[in-house]
């Protein structure tokens, strides 16, 4: 380190040679524009809470799918097999999510896409809706797979966009 008096350099922040060394810089603003897209202004740095939330959503997909599978309803051919496969994947995901620091979010997205695919199959088949003879609770649990999957997908997008971060990553705010 060349300058021991620099607090920034002492903590490993080295922007020497860039405009940001001595001036504020504005990111994500297109040439000629004044402001960045609205969502670029949102950056949440709650990595552990976000990790828990993402894992919890996949767990919710798994629990709801297991409940649907246990009802033994003939949603479409091989639906029960597909649902139990999905449950297995969610179990693996939750275990890895809780016991390691692995970045498994894209795998989570694939699980939610699988879940959405099953939901789509239900729409074309005999899904447990009230108007198909299912109880309110059965229909709610079935739709829960949809809502949890959609929310996870939205959070995944927010993660990739930089609005949120999940442990072990963080926003690396320096100011």
């Amino acid at each position: 380190m060349e300058d021991e008096n620099s607090p920034a350099l002492r903590v490993g922040v080295d922007f020497r040679g860039t405009p940001n060394a001595t001036e504020p810089v504005l990111e994500h603003i297109k040439p000629g524009g004044k402001r960045a897209p609205l969502l670029r202004y949102i950056r949440i740095n709650l990595p552990r809470a976000t990790r828990w939330l993402l894992v919890a959503l996949i767990a919710l997909v798994g629990v709801a799918s297991a409940a649907v599978a246990l009802s033994q309803r003939d949603i479409f051919p091989l639906a029960i097999t597909a649902l139990w496969s999905l449950v297995g994947l969610t179990v693996v995901f939750v275990i890895i999510g809780l016991t390691t620091h692995a970045r498994i979010w894209t795998w989570g997205l694939l699980i939610t896409l699988f879940s959405l695919l099953i939901y789509l199959g239900g729409l074309l088949g005999n899904a447990p809706y009230v108007w198909n003879g299912a109880s309110v609770a059965e229909a709610a649990i079935w739709n829960l797979t949809l809502f949890a999957s959609v929310v996870y997908s939205l959070l995944y997008w927010a993660l990739r966009y930089g609005m949120i971060v999940a442990s072990p990553d963080q926003q690396n705010f320096t100011d």
């Binding site: 620099s6 920034a8 350099l9 922040v13 922007f15 020497r16 940001n20 060394a21 001595t22 001036e23 504020p24 810089v25 504005l26 990111e27 994500h28 603003i29 004044k34 402001r35 960045a36 609205l38 670029r40 202004y41 949102i42 950056r43 949440i44 740095n45 709650l46 809706y129 009230v130 309110v136 609770a137 059965e138 229909a139 709610a140 649990i141 739709n143 829960l144 809502f147 926003q171 705010f173 320096t174 100011d175």
Partner: protein
């Protein structure tokens, strides 16, 4: 009883749409000037839990809080463009209406028995609300509870918004006020400190927005014309008429926002006048709340406390004077050369060196929380002498009403962010004589006040927002009117920007 939709409830519903939408937009303006949320009151750079900016501060150069403004669009914030003072004016104007409306509504709920629409009178409501939640999830519409105007889940959620979230947003908003937070300092700490309160206030906003989004979706699912008609006419016998009137009302609301934004950007002083008429009658009452903050977990008794809770690197919010005179003072360590002048409407004009101030202070100190108008906080142990003691020595003449403080700082010369001349502030005598209004000469037992924090001598006004605690103090002048000084508004930012001299909120 027939709960129905009485006229006052419908009026309150529409007024709330106006107030909350204005509060959200002006609140975003306030957020934009320090778009970072923290848990710690020390607001250490890099430790925020959320940021709402695309600006990266200089990494190898000192930057002040003044440079952290973010330019939000006037389409989002009121008025946008980083005009904090005007955003505050709108926030306080609207909050006056919002709180008045809520208190009136609360009283009417109590006296008319309409509180039953929000407060469960049976434990059965909770399992029923769970069933209603399942019904919504199952894409079916739950039915209202017998004798009620809406279902159990709606009852609980509306009750939460009106009876929990609204008092919480009012409480956390009130504790943004330095006068309130530093007077009721034990409650400030009980609530988790200034930055936790600020974060909670923001999360209340998120709560309102989430409720609004779900509420609107459900209004459409239940039938837009049917539901809005109930909020206009009190019944749904003529849904087309009710729905049309409600829609026109919403359109007028949009027009109101556009007009308010453009008016504010075109004539900020007019908004200031409106603010002074509406807000000052109650904000002036806060002069009755002197600060009594001594930042320690177990002590608000007035005894000096140690450095355990102080901020290691007290944030700088202005640029030191760049004059030969000030550099010479600094080079000589202030002690021999610096002289504080006290004059004006006093019997005994005087000059005091730092050593004399130190002797007069006899070791007095106060450990207090700095409330920046933008939002940052730092905790400092300030050693100094109470201004009231200095005023007693100088002896204000009969008729003296205000105290004016002049800084070595010249804003146009010293800080690229600003234009204009000498930095000055003024306080009414009541604020000057408050027990924690201090002429400070040492921060955190470092022997002096660092240049970035206002050395050699600065003012500490613990009841006001930070910019009124003038730094680099050169002269104190007792006057019988302040409105003939420069623009007549009582201070540099009051004159050149849109800030009220009453900065107790």
């Amino acid at each position: 009883m027939d709960l129905g939709f009485p006229w006052w409830l419908r009026v309150e519903h529409f007024l709330n749409i106006i107030f909350i939408s204005f509060l959200v937009r002006s609140g975003l303006e306030i957020l934009s000037t320090y778009p970072k949320l923290y848990r710690s009151q020390h607001t250490v750079p890099g430790r925020s839990w959320a940021q709402f900016t695309v600006q990266k501060e200089p990494k190898h150069k000192f930057y002040t809080v003044g440079g952290e403004y973010s330019d939000y669009s006037p389409r989002i914030a009121l008025p946008g463009r980083g005009l904090l003072g005007l955003g505050r004016y709108w926030h306080f104007i609207t909050v006056t209406g919002f709180v008045t409306c809520w208190v009136t509504y609360f009283i009417l709920l109590l006296v008319t028995g309409q509180w039953r629409r929000y407060v469960p009178t049976s434990w059965d409501v909770f399992p029923q609300a769970w069933q209603d939640m399942l019904s919504y999830l199952a894409f079916t519409m739950p039915h209202p509870v017998e004798g009620m105007v809406f279902n159990a889940l709606q009852q609980l959620s509306y009750g939460f918004i009106i009876l929990v979230l609204t008092p919480l947003v009012i409480l956390t908003g009130a504790f943004q006020s330095p006068a309130i937070a530093n007077h009721f300092s034990r409650i400030t700490r009980l609530l988790g400190g200034r930055q936790v309160i600020r974060s909670a206030h923001f999360l209340c906003l998120v709560g309102y927005l989430a409720f609004f989004a779900i509420h609107v979706v459900l209004v459409f699912l239940h039938g837009y014309l049917h539901e809005t008609s109930k909020m206009v006419l009190g019944h749904s016998d003529n849904p087309v008429l009710g729905g049309t009137i409600f829609t026109v009302g919403l359109m007028l609301l949009v027009v109101l926002h556009v007009v308010a934004t453009r008016w504010t950007l075109a004539d900020g002083r007019a908004v200031e006048k409106l603010h002074n008429r509406i807000v000052r009658p109650w904000s002036n009452l806060l002069y009755k709340l002197p600060a009594r903050m001594h930042y320690d977990r177990s002590n608000i008794t007035g005894k000096p406390v140690g450095l355990d809770n102080t901020t290691q690197n007290f944030r700088g919010s202005g640029r030191p004077p760049e004059t030969e005179e000030y550099f010479a003072l600094m080079a000589n360590g202030y002690e021999d050369d610096y002289v504080l002048e006290i004059g004006g409407y006093v019997e005994h004009p005087m000059t005091l060196t730092v050593a004399e101030l130190r002797e007069l202070a006899a070791g007095h100190s106060q450990t207090t929380l700095h409330h920046c108008v933008q939002g940052f906080t730092s905790i400092g142990r300030w050693r100094g002498i109470r201004l009231s003691e200095l005023l007693d020595l100088a002896g204000p003449l009969p008729g003296a009403t205000d105290v004016v403080y002049t800084s070595f700082q010249n804003m146009g010369r010293d800080d690229v962010l600003y234009e204009g001349g000498s930095y000055y502030e003024s306080t009414p005598m009541v604020e000057a004589r408050m027990p924690q209004t201090l002429i400070a000469f040492e921060l955190n037992d470092e022997g002096e006040i660092p240049a970035k924090n206002g050395g050699p001598v600065r003012l500490r006004l613990e009841t006001s927002t930070g910019f009124r605690s003038l730094k680099w103090l050169e002269r104190i002048e007792v006057v019988n009117r302040y409105d003939i000084i420069l623009e007549g508004r009582g201070g540099y930012f009051e004159d050149t920007d849109f800030f009220d001299r009453n900065q107790l909120i």
